[in-house]
Symmetry: C2
DNA sequence: GTCTATAGCCAGATAGAC
DNA sequence: GTCTATCTGGCTATAGAC
């Protein structure tokens, strides 16, 4: 039992350290993107040697993939939270998801990975955990989209794919960053404008 | 006079060659993006040696900047063409610009340069020709936006910045590529859907 | 101005002591 | 598992012959 609790403690320490690594990766990915992020920077930001990083993650791609998995975990958690709301319509749930993504982006916590990078894309598509979560989130959102279309809250003439991809795309839209760079608007105001133009376009 | 015409001829040859280089760069930028594009690939695609490339352009950044300048030239040409239409409203002119950008993207001819890459950004911001064209295009589009807002074709409650940035953002929106990757829709259909969701969101 | 060959550098990844 | 020190490959850029 004492051996078991020592093991558990070691595992906890490991988890905490790896979570710190992922937080650094997440911040750097949001700041510079995958290509410009260097493993040396990650190591410096975490405060450990580069070789130690490679004891935890096999490659730069694995580092980025871990950050994306954590993003999907948080997304899934929010999906479940929204699903538990009894007072909300499907439209309101979808809008809450969009708003959360926009706020995450403006807070500088949305990791950005180019969909073009083939090595990283391969790593993500090889991660069963990531794919499972992505599929599950997409299915739940797809259900809400269908319900919203049936009740007339979303234009039924649009294929649900189009609606889903549009929501996903807003999570990496450059407009919020542009407006923030201008410096003359509050984050709340920016989110409201993007929400308006996005969702007015999907409704009818 | 014969010397002058030989010089002109040489200059023409130079122009044609450099245009071929820029076309290759444009295609590769659209395909892989700036970071993943290598100068070796550009040279191979053009069919000349890498060292010859550097006789025409001083750096990889200069290559990409040249492609962006040509994109701005074509944008400016389309702006002038739209300005000459006597039958069109400002809204219709803006929509024509958006549609053109979407079609360019689906044709695989829209160069994508990460706004994050500092060296490339520095090169672009140092290019007076590029900045001048960008500013002039933005001013004309801004004028059309104000007119469309005054006539109620675009929501007057939106700052014109928001409208302008939203139009620019559609030129690099990932949604068309996602839908095209699905493979079950025609390019025309994809453009129509994105146009609908984009412009319905800006109108009112 | 075009080529071949190479310099120089940077970043990802690893060896090996502790 | 953490460190320092190093290897390695690939990419930008250039030298120098023609």
């Amino acid at each position: 039992m004492s051996a078991m609790s020592r093991l558990s403690f070691k595992e906890q320490v490991l988890r905490v350290r790896e979570d710190a690594i992922i937080s650094s990766v997440n911040r750097l990915l949001a700041d510079k993107g995958f290509d410009l992020m260097t493993v040396d920077e990650v190591a410096a930001d975490v405060g450990i040697a580069k070789a130690s990083l490679y004891k935890h993650f096999a490659s730069k791609e694995a580092l980025a993939a871990a950050a994306m998995v954590r993003l999907m975990q948080r997304t899934q958690a929010l999906v479940e939270q929204q699903a538990a709301r009894t007072d909300a319509t499907p439209l309101q749930r979808l809008q809450a998801m969009t708003r959360w993504a926009l706020e995450l982006q403006l807070a500088g916590e949305m990791p950005s990975v180019p969909s073009q990078n083939s090595s990283l894309r391969a790593e993500l598509m090889a991660s069963q955990a990531y794919l499972d979560m992505l599929m599950q989130v997409s299915e739940v959102l797809g259900g809400w989209i269908h319900q919203a279309q049936a009740s007339g809250d979303i234009d039924p003439a649009l294929p649900s794919e189009v609606v889903l991809y549009t929501i996903y795309a807003r999570a990496c839209d450059p407009v919020p960053a542009f407006l923030k760079a201008g410096g003359s608007h509050s984050n709340e105001q920016i989110v409201d404008w993007v929400m308006t133009t996005c969702w007015r376009g999907l409704q009818r």
